[in-house]
């Protein structure tokens, strides 16, 4: 079992460590509208009917005429052209090749008919070719062609892929992050321009993309909802109802698939939860949660944002939102409501400023100031001068920026949060040095990324708040000591016979300490530059286990560290002799011949303590 080459083939053929493909039952049939898939051919045939018939008639009339018009042979005797000569003449005349008058020079009567034939055939050809070109330019035809193309591409996708419905800003960010990880995905978006952008964008992999409504289950089926390789569905359109439709379609047609959907209201999130158990991402709700987490446990929040940003991300600065005092929230829409509720739940006082009295109802409490926040008088009434925190959460970037400026002028010591709606305004918000910036698309993209990138990362993130702030601060210290200020790759390692064939006997021995596994195969006195973030055993999670943690078969590990460490660890897991050296220090011959020889001479005696080099 410890042969790396055999293992490689095994993995190539079964391609998944978790056995997702090998073991699972075949997915149910999801109806791909067959007519749609083969439409272009029929469309061409149908549209070309009239031009082809015109062409046939023109040829037939010309040929028939040529055989009927009286001619003369070389000796001047009356002669009539046969069908063969006539068809030959028409073929080279109609295609503008023009070999001349054969087999004998034409009589005036024949020339007259030939002239008619020439003009007729030119018209026939022009009509036929014109129709064909017009068909190629036709929108419906191109859509049908694109549909067929995408259907074929998705059908040929052998690797696991994600179905991404909605390719807005969040979809784009998520797509790039997934592409960086080498994950495949397919995209469905209603807007033509977004799909054009996607095709112009540079991705490592080929991304099948289709212009279509995500609400249509047929389109989802074309994009591989029924495919056994589809591993998750992500609904990120800017329309909550379309997202709900995707959740429904996925839950009803492929109940076993994980679904992640974006929702911007609590009510919509509830409606989505009624279908299976989709993971709902609400950017406005998340912002409030994050702000409260940052206030309660700054180090945990820092670790969370670092991990969510993915490999290569720089360690974010530690932010300290005030934990006591009064907050002023401008804009009482979806964000304002959620944020005010979160802050109040945290025991903080909140004053809400909203221009429309109609929208701000009784649940805003007494601390409601009706008026336009840009008005300095309104801000003064809201008590900005005595507040500790300020959030500009309207859906207008210009308003938000001017709100922040006005609030800072009134109270320079404020902790300021703002919502950025348009990506183009990012430099302005960066220049304002907002303490905590909400970019809904980025929040969604990071959240979905954390759920999809590495199976255990999401679990780890959920475990984090329970461990306390000191633990998080220490973990950040250890991570920066290990890998610097830029996050290294994260990967999951299941200790199954398939993924770690060399570990079987060692794990079964009951004395498999984690610290031994992470030794360097080149020199076991050195540790690998890798850190185990989480061990999951039968659903029980242990965050950051120590070096003495005892591993058992079937454990799942979440690791982070250098790419070199990942490769070294893979060798330990698959090659018996390397594993033996790493965990016990015994140098065991790797080759069959040497193993035989050493067994014959000194079978049980290991060469303890010897080191290579």
């Amino acid at each position: 079992m410890g042969n790396p080459l055999l293992l490689m083939w095994w993995r190539l053929l079964a391609w998944d460590d978790d056995g997702r493909r090998a073991g699972g039952p075949p997915p149910p049939e999801v109806a791909v509208p067959h007519a749609e898939a083969s439409a272009p051919v029929f469309l061409v045939l149908r549209r070309m009917r009239a031009p082809l018939i015109v062409l046939i008639v023109v040829f037939a009339v010309s040929v028939l005429g040529l055989t009927l018009v009286p001619g003369e042979d070389a000796a001047g005797r009356p002669w009539r052209m046969g069908f063969f000569d006539a068809f030959y003449f028409m073929s080279y005349t109609a295609t503008t090749i023009g070999f001349g008058e054969i087999p004998y020079p034409f009589t005036p009567a024949q020339r007259m008919w030939a002239m008619v034939s020439i003009y007729l055939s030119v018209i026939g050809w022009a009509y036929a070719i014109g129709s064909l070109l017009a068909l190629l330019q036709d929108r419906a035809f191109r859509a049908a062609l694109a549909l067929q193309h995408v259907t074929r591409k998705v059908g040929r996708l052998g690797e696991p892929f994600l179905l991404l419905a909605g390719y807005g800003r969040a979809g784009e960010l998520l797509g790039h992050a997934l592409d960086g990880l080498g994950r495949r995905f397919v995209v469905l978006d209603r807007a033509n321009e977004r799909i054009d952008d996607l095709e112009l964008d540079s991705f490592h992999a080929d991304i099948p993309a289709l212009v279509g409504d995500a609400r249509d289950p047929g389109h989802l089926a074309v994009m591989g909802l029924g495919s056994p390789s589809c591993e998750a569905v992500v609904a990120l359109t800017d329309d909550d109802e379309a997202n709900l439709a995707v959740v429904m379609a996925a839950a009803l047609l492929r109940p076993e698939l994980p679904v992640i959907a974006r929702a911007t209201t609590v009510a919509m999130a509830e409606r989505m939860q009624a279908f299976g158990s989709p993971s709902v991402v609400n950017p406005f709700d998340r912002y409030g949660d994050h702000l409260c987490l940052a206030a309660r446990a700054p180090a945990t929040y820092r670790l969370l944002t670092w991990l969510e940003r993915g490999p290569g991300a720089e360690l974010p600065a530690l932010s300290h939102p005030p934990r006591e005092g009064r907050w002023v929230v401008c804009g009482y829409g979806r964000l304002g409501r959620s944020l005010a509720a979160d802050l109040r739940a945290e025991g903080l006082a909140v004053t809400v400023v909203d221009p429309g009295s109609g929208g701000a109802d009784e649940d805003a409490g007494d601390d409601l100031v009706v008026g336009d926040g840009v008005d300095p008088d309104v801000l003064a009434r809201a008590g900005v001068a005595t507040a500790v925190g300020f959030v500009a959460g309207t859906d207008n970037d210009i308003t938000n920026l001017s709100l922040v400026a006005a609030a800072r002028r009134a109270n320079p010591g404020l902790f300021v949060g703002a919502r950025q709606n348009r990506p183009a305004n990012a430099p302005l918000f960066a220049a304002m040095e907002i303490d905590t910036l909400l970019v809904p698309a980025e929040v969604v993209a990071r959240d979905v990324y954390a759920q999809l990138a590495t199976p255990l990362l999401w679990r780890f993130i959920q475990e984090m708040p329970r461990q306390g702030d000191a633990w998080a601060a220490e973990l950040v210290e250890r991570l920066t000591a290990l890998c610097g200020r830029h996050l290294e790759g994260l990967w999951t390692l299941p200790l199954t016979p398939r993924a770690a064939p060399a570990l079987g006997s060692w794990l079964a021995g009951g004395d498999a300490r984690l610290g031994d596994l992470l030794r360097n195969p080149d020199d076991r006195d050195r540790q690998l530059h890798a850190l185990v973030l989480l061990v999951v055993r039968e659903g029980q999670a242990t965050p950051t286990p120590g070096a003495d943690f005892l591993l058992a078969p079937g454990d799942e590990l979440l690791l982070t560290g250098w790419a070199a460490a990942r490769r070294a660890l893979a060798t330990t897991l698959t090659v018996d002799s390397v594993r033996e050296y790493v965990v016990s220090g015994n140098l065991v011959p790797a080759g069959w011949v040497w193993r035989r020889l050493s067994r014959d001479t000194r079978a049980p005696e290991p060469v303890a303590g010897r080191r290579p080099g």
Binding site: F42, R46, M48, A60, L64, G82, F83, F84, D85
Partner: protein
């Protein structure tokens, strides 16, 4: 009344009748088989084929298939005729005529299937 159906039926039936007209007569007697009739049969068959393009139904597919068979046989017959008249030194012999007519006989069978399909289609059409 649907004009498209009229045109379609007209060409399908005309293809069969022209084919039948050419096929009729002693199999090896060149004088009984007019080459203009064969020409007309080829042209009408081609038009009937194009008219059957782009129909997605099962019946439409069989229609198209029978037409393609008839085209193939008739064009083969025309090629044999052309070869006999222009290339072969022996000219149009009784044996060549027989092969031309038997090829057109095969096409006639395909055309008859086409007509039967047309009749079946018409008979099974219920006015709702």
């Amino acid at each position: 009344m649907n004009l498209e159906k009229v045109v379609f039926g007209f060409f399908v039936v005309l293809a069969a009748t022209l084919n039948f007209g050419f096929f009729l007569g002693d199999i090896d007697d060149p004088t009984m088989h007019n080459r203009y009739e064969l020409f007309a049969a080829v042209v009408v068959n081609l038009i009937a084929t194009v008219l059957k393009f782009g129909d997605r139904t099962q019946l439409g597919a069989v229609h198209l298939a029978t037409s393609l068979v008839a085209d193939l046989q008739l064009i083969a017959a025309a090629l044999v005729l052309g070869y006999a008249a222009y290339v072969s030194t022996a000219g149009l012999t009784a044996a060549t005529t027989a092969s031309i007519v038997s090829l057109s006989g095969g096409a006639l069978l395909a055309n008859l299937v086409s007509v039967v399909l047309l009749v079946v289609e018409t008979a099974s059409f219920h006015r709702g």
